[in-house]
């Protein structure tokens, strides 16, 4: 049962609390992605798990044992650093076997493991290169290799792909998933790239300012964000959020009076205002739309068009369309289906449905 469990973990530097009461469990073989804006405490959380940072309070259990004070070297955790942390003065081979040699494994075993890992990661032939002679993608693979050979049941990765360019990144993340499928370690993966999060994760945990916002499958998070923060954080362009007034069975979005279906009236209850959220790609541009709006600006990204609309209230709405499907030039506003709409509390930002 190689799981990692965080219970009420807090981390404070002096007065500033960086991680606040974090509860998290990663099951054996699962890929958990930590996602969040810069400075939200992702790296800190990872480092606490690795033992590189002390835990202020709370309990860290690994495989059911309390790990709070075990020194990092004895945790048997493999970690890939954001900067790769390759030893610049060692060759690829020496980098990979660094830890194994310290463990004093028999040299046969070392060779076997390293050769295998190099093969999997397509690095055979590069053994005697030094890190500075490698491209970014290769460096990243060497760092992975070093983690792999440990055959550790826990894998921590801190933005392992952030230094790669778009093309390489896509390749690398596919590879990463492939490797995970082979070894099935318990994996925590830090990133602030959404595409990465959506494609790699079994589960995503979204942090903001040290506090857990939501944890769930990519689909849950995308379709059912727990609060406005998550809604605004996930998706490019992000979910459109606008205030709506409620009166009996009517809802006013952008001064447009719509009938709120019975089902959702139960959700919003007695509230007089609510924040509604609609993903840009769930909106359609129409000649006779549900909500009238003025087209302000159209950006053509080639495979997709982003249309910025201005409601009568002045609020702006992005609508994303795949260009060869709609004739948007004549659009007078946008429509949507109620089932694609999220409702958030105005004060707390909480999703009222989930």
């Amino acid at each position: 049962m190689n799981n990692i469990k965080l219970t009420n973990i807090c981390k404070a530097y002096g007065e500033t609390v960086v991680v606040n009461n974090l509860n998290l469990e990663v099951k054996q073989g699962e890929r958990l992605i930590l996602l969040g804006p810069s400075g939200c405490g992702k790296t800190t959380t990872l480092r606490m798990i690795a033992g590189l940072e002390s835990i202020t309070s709370g309990e860290l259990e690994i495989s059911g044992k309390l790990f709070n004070t075990i020194p990092p070297g004895e945790r048997n955790i493999a970690m890939v650093f954001q900067s790769y942390a390759l030893f610049p003065h060692l060759t690829v081979w020496e980098n990979i076997i660094f830890g194994l040699k310290i463990q004093k494994l028999p040299s046969e075993e070392i060779k076997k493991r390293a050769a295998k890992a190099l093969e999997i990661l397509n690095l055979t032939g590069y053994e005697s290169y030094r890190p500075k002679e490698l491209s970014g993608g290769q460096k990243q693979r060497v760092a992975l290799c070093r983690a792999l050979v440990k055959q550790s049941p826990y894998f921590l990765l801190d933005e392992p792909l952030s230094n790669l360019d778009a093309q390489l990144r896509q390749q690398a993340r596919t590879e990463l998933v492939k490797i995970h499928e082979i070894y099935k370690p318990t994996m925590i993966y830090v990133t602030h790239d959404q595409v990465e999060a959506m494609t790699v994760a079994h589960k995503i945990a979204i942090l903001n300012k040290g506090t857990l916002q939501q944890i769930g499958t990519p689909k849950e998070i995308y379709n059912n964000p727990a609060n406005t923060f998550v809604a605004g954080f996930i998706g490019t362009p992000p979910m459109n959020l606008c205030k709506a007034h409620l009166l009996y069975d009517k809802i006013f979005i952008g001064n447009e009076c719509l009938v709120l279906p019975e089902k959702y009236r139960e959700v919003v209850k007695e509230r007089s205002t609510v924040v509604v959220g609609i993903r840009p790609e769930r909106c359609t541009l129409e000649k006779s739309p549900m909500v009238e709006a003025k087209t302000v600006f159209v950006e053509d990204l080639g495979n997709q068009r982003i249309t910025r609309l201005q409601l009568k209230t002045g609020e702006e709405i992005y609508v994303s369309t795949v260009d060869h499907k709609y004739s948007f030039a004549l659009a007078q506003g946008f429509s949507f289906e109620w089932e694609n709409v999220c409702f958030f509390d105005v004060g707390s930002g909480k999703n009222l449905i989930s």
């Binding site: 033992g51 590189l52 940072e53 002390s54 004070t69 020194p71 990092p72």
Partner: protein, 274 residues
């Protein structure tokens, strides 16, 4: 990370080093406040009991202390200013321009830093003598007006400025001097200050070359004045010598205390490599 008690053991060697490094200073300070008798009675006891100012009084009343001070100040400030100018100008040339043999010239300047000064003293002494500059401050000053290390440190500092800043200025039609004045100098001011302070301290402490060049007591710098009291024919005046030593060390020490953060950071950031 687990912070073990063992970790604190590493402070021991450091504290020992501090003790060794500070002992001479403590000795100097305490001796300067002792009278002749105390000095020879209790050299291990750092506390002058009772402290006396007699040594300082002697120095200030019977010796042209302020002449020494002025001489030292004049020489040190002059050297500092000119050295700063030559270093800044040269470093600027290396940073701003691309020219043939740039690295060769730079290395040949840096190399001078490795030439032991003694190897040069005789020819330089003869030159000073030919120019009639012996026993004048100029004789002391001239050979110290340039410094390979200074140019190296300045260049290193200037390299820290993003090239784009210089280019932005060039695009605005700024002349090289304007680039130097308006962009580089304001940006390197902290480091340049630190480097100048170090120049100053070095020039202030210089002993050997002034010893050769200056003969007239009226010309003496403070470090030279020191040896008037030690190994003199009449015997050494330890208390007075230590008072002079104190007064000699005080300006550099004060400068250091005021600017230690700059100085240390400059050396830390210079990224020196052989």
């Amino acid at each position: 990370m687990k912070i073990s008690k063992l970790k604190n053991l590493w402070h021991l060697p450091l504290l020992l080093a501090i003790l060794v490094q500070f002992w001479p200073l403590v000795f100097m300070i305490s001796t300067s406040f002792k009278d002749m008798n105390q000095i020879f009675q209790a050299s291990l006891n750092p506390l002058p009991l009772p402290p006396t100012l007699v040594n300082y009084e002697t120095v200030l009343n019977n010796f042209p202390f302020f002449t020494f001070l002025n001489n030292t100040l004049f020489i040190a400030i002059f050297i500092t200013v000119i050295k700063l100018v030559t270093s800044v100008l040269a470093a600027f040339a290396f940073v701003y321009y691309d020219f043939k043999y740039k690295e060769v010239i730079f290395n040949s300047m840096l190399l001078t830093f490795f030439i032991p000064f003694t190897v040069l003293i005789m020819p330089n002494y003869l030159l000073m003598s030919k120019l009639g500059l012996l026993n004048t401050p100029w004789g002391v000053i001239l050979p110290q007006l340039v410094d390979g290390m200074g140019i190296f440190l300045m260049r290193q500092t200037m390299r820290g400025i993003p090239k784009a800043l210089l280019e932005a200025a060039v695009l605005e039609n700024a002349s090289p001097l304007q680039v130097l004045y308006k962009v580089i100098l304001p940006l390197i001011r902290p480091s340049a200050t630190a480097i100048s302070i170090f120049f100053f301290i070095d020039a202030w402490n210089e002993y050997f070359w002034p010893l050769l060049v200056l003969q007239d007591k009226g010309m003496y710098t403070l470090p030279l004045a020191l040896q008037m009291f030690i190994s003199a024919e009449g015997g050494s005046e330890w208390g007075i010598a230590m008072a002079v030593a104190m007064l000699t060390c005080l300006p550099p020490l004060i400068l250091y205390f005021v600017s230690q953060r700059f100085i240390l950071n400059t050396f830390m950031q210079s990224g020196v490599k052989g």
